[in-house]
Point group: C2
Chain length 554, copies 2
């Protein structure tokens, strides 16, 4: 058998290696347009920031090591220009020596990846404006920084890569600004979680221009003038475009393969394209999201590697291994914070018109009495009908990745908020609490679903006529004194329980504390006295962070 | 309604708080024999080690705060001496003022906990010999250390608490030795995982006496002479007994409640004892292990807290919430290492005569090219029939807790090794790899179950007649030169693939590399050439660690 693979990074290289393990006698050739195969794509920002200072560390495999270990020929600087599915041939452009040649195949695997979006803005091709897709791009950025006196940088687009680049340029001593069209950074998380990042950026003196867009780049005497929609002009020395990426489907489209509604190569559950001898993996494919059932793209390394394994099994032994799709688990380090998401955000659920409820909890990274415990924010979205966990997000200084893994495991399995309650965490004081924040999220959601508490979001409260409700801050007088919601009265939970019987019955009582826990206890008391009472989701912590942002944005 | 709770720590305090949230009007009284309620049991070793230096940090709640927040009366120094289930009364001994009194109840909840085992050894009541159950015990140990010139300490029993105490006494500048009857520390993990801890102890100069037991304590001029079974006598200044704990069921037994075969209070899935008005939670109950179906005890804070919540719901609203049992997820920090387990160990599976297969993988805590990546050891046990994950263990310097959580979530859900493959980890270079070690464990297990590779354990290899097999070390000549298995020939995978066709066909080939990955690739090649070949589980890393121990023990 002869297997050809187009694309030599993540998905392509994984597929190739697995093909060899399954079939020692096959001829396997992998074509890569760039200079390198199997490199650490996700490590590139850290090479710029010199946290990874040895360039060779970026290379997981080289064509030589791939040949020595797997007996696979990896042809770099080889761009596949055409596929002829009927003849089962490809045309390859040898970028090094020039010239086109043909290769035949029994099975073809496409792993072309995704290409950065470059909007047709005035001046976008100016020197000093970069996108980052591969090692060569990264080398160019690094060289530019080394050879120029780069003091100011602008990142266009506040997605995961944009923010990782912001951190890494900042580490190089560069003053960084970020421009983002949306009202928040990091699309996969909801506003309340993103605002924690916004605040953190302020503390790091990173400029953040939300609801803002670049309309042109103009050359300036010592740099680039970036003209923003608002009229603001930023003079910077370097621009990094990280607006987004798009599946690189030119080859697939021209070969007549079916392209899905999201713009990715359509594959079936065996990762087979519309042509039976052609499979596809990685960032370029479209596959249904397991939660929404809707076609989706996923630009993630983990799923790409899993796809490679499944694809190879199906190519060699016939279609028998099913890919299950990606729930979109993603994480990023942003300066001192870790932020991530798994499943569907509230924004996405709104767009899909899928009903959901949401709960925000704040919990300690480990037992509060053990040194180093820090608070994190967790938000979960779940079905109001059966408690199915639809999405989870977290942000904080420590232990965030672990909580995302726990919730990702539950979502991956089609689990519910009841499964969150039952998760048996590995508890000892340095690692967790007897009730882990993830358990707590489940407990709160259970209380909501079983009607033990009604909650209200910061946004609902913001939009409410405050004269028609009574706001009760149940924190201590000391906490109340440091700031509260305008119009709130302070009736501390601890010790003032008796006063809860004397509140007015003619309006809704909105109860809140710092993070929601005391508010919940107060809500339970008031409910049992017959009050119409709601607890503020996420407490004053979430409300004040989200509202501060609203004011500064407004 | 009137609810009485016996025991004011973890399970008892959780139940009480939840009872109040569900029933604002009930009378709730909690009785605690000791001086304190709701303290940080798991934090006590760290208070000795002064990592927690403020004593008040140990107290989550006090009787005063419990009254103020929950309107619950917590009576400390109040020992419940008798329960009369027919009359629905208890007799309470007021330890502070003396005298017995009666209290009636509608529902009674028992949370008596577990008591440390104190074997009837000669001299065990001598000054300087302690067990640690509660704050008072801890105060006594701390006082003893402060008032005596403690240079040498002996820990009897190498379970989780014993090893945490070893670390904390070491932090106090005390020379620590540990005596353990088994051939390994930490029963919940298997030998290969425990040996990593044994080696670490050596590096910390902690004396470890395995397969050894105390037979007597003798007073000595300046300390205690501890006589061991082997005849060895250790002169120490303090002894901590952490041999184990037993459910404290005297009260329950005398009340005529059913006691299970493990010695715990028998409860149904609603946490109700054999008497309908009496419930029980915490370390004292017996409940079926969800994996084995056999009655089991679990001395864990997480499950105790969950039980409290479920129990309260059933007490107030009638039996409707089912407890699902504990899969025994446990973790400990042991000096620089983290070690833990979830589900059933191979030892336990052997005892239960449940068939299983096991796989050992070594993986990096995060992407190898990002600074700070360190290797960890993961072992999984799974069903040979359907791949159901039966147990998982891990040890390492970083990221171990997270991997245990991921595997605990899969086991908790009744999942399989295929679910491990599908876990969608939160991947960015600082947190994970594109193929997380947990995914890798699933991949290897899948290869084993699907017959793509046969593996052999270090123990099977040890017991094998090496003249009847051919040992092939597929690492590089440099690695081979630093030490290998006696009798092995070195045929490196990379570049020497051709030589694999010329091996003798008359015997089994045992292939190994450093951690199992290259060995697997070599195994796949050899299998396809028709060899009878097995790959060494966990590679030379596991073999050499486990065997070093065997030699030093032998």
């Amino acid at each position: 058998m002869k297997y050809l693979i187009v694309g030599g990074v993540a998905g392509g290289a994984s597929t190739a290696a697995r093909l060899r393990r399954l079939d020692e006698s096959a001829e396997i050739i992998m074509f890569e347009r760039g200079d390198y195969i199997s490199y650490a794509n996700c490590g590139l920002p850290y090479y710029i920031g010199e946290l990874i200072y040895q360039r060779e560390k970026l290379f997981v495999q080289t064509p030589e090591s791939f040949a020595a270990r797997f007996n696979i020929e990896a042809r770099v600087r080889s761009e596949v220009k055409r596929v002829n599915p009927e003849k089962k041939t490809i045309m390859v452009h040898n970028l090094a020596l020039g010239g086109l040649y043909e290769e035949t195949y029994d099975k073809l695997i496409l792993s072309p990846g995704a290409a950065p979006v470059r909007p047709p803005l005035e001046g976008i091709d100016m020197e000093g404006i970069f996108t980052m897709r591969n090692v060569n791009d990264t080398d160019r950025v690094k060289e530019y920084i080394e050879e120029h006196d780069v003091k100011y940088a602008l990142i266009v687009g506040a997605g995961f890569i944009g923010l990782e680049m912001a951190e890494n340029l900042h580490e190089c001593g560069i003053q960084v600004s970020v421009v983002e069209m949306a009202d928040q950074v990091m699309t996969p998380v909801d506003y309340e979680i993103a605002t924690v990042i916004h605040q953190h950026f302020k503390s790091k003196s990173v400029g953040l221009h939300l609801q803002e867009a670049v309309i042109a780049f103009h050359p300036a005497e010592d740099g680039i003038d970036v003209v923003l929609k608002s009229g603001l002009v930023l003079r910077v020395d370097i621009v990094l475009l990280s607006i987004g990426v798009r599946p690189d489907v030119k080859l697939a489209r021209e070969a007549g393969l079916e392209i899905g509604e999201t713009g990715g190569i359509k594959v079936n559950e065996f990762l087979q394209t519309s042509h039976p001898d052609i499979y596809a993996v990685g960032d370029a494919i479209e596959f249904p999201n397991p939660l929404s059932g809707r076609p989706a793209l996923a630009f993630l390394a983990g799923p790409a590697n899993r796809q490679g394994r499944i694809c190879a099994d199906n190519v060699v032994n016939g279609n028998h291994q099913k890919y299950k799709g990606s729930i979109g688990t993603a994480i990023a380090k942003v300066f001192d914070l870790t932020v991530g998401a798994t499943g569907l955000s509230a924004k996405m659920l709104d767009r899909l018109q899928m009903p959901y409820k949401e709960v925000i909890v704040h919990g300690a990274s480990h037992a509060g009495y053990y040194p180093g415990a820090v608070m994190m924010d967790i938000k979960i979205n779940f079905s109001p009908e059966n408690g199915k966990l639809l999405g989870a997000q977290a942000v904080g200084v420590d232990g965030v990745d672990k909580r995302l893994e726990m919730m990702s495991a539950v979502i991956r399995n089609g689990g519910t908020i009841y499964d969150l309650m039952e998760l048996e965490q590995a508890y000892a004081p340095p690692y967790s609490s007897a009730k882990d924040p993830v358990n707590m999220a489940g407990f709160v959601a259970d209380n909501v679903l079983s009607g033990k508490v009604k909650i209200i979001s910061w946004r609902e409260l913001k939009d409410m006529d405050h004269s028609k409700v009574m706001l009760v801050d149940v924190r201590t007088p000391e906490e109340f004194g440091r700031g509260s919601i305008k119009g709130a009265v302070n009736i501390p939970l601890d010790g003032s329980r008796g006063k809860y019987q004397n509140l007015p019955k003619d309006r809704t009582i909105v109860v809140f504390c710092a993070i929601g826990l005391r508010g919940y206890i107060a809500t339970r008391i008031l409910m049992q006295y017959g009050y119409d009472v709601v607890n503020l989701n996420g407490g004053y912590r979430t409300y004040s962070t989200a509202m501060a942002e609203q004011c500064s944005a407004g």
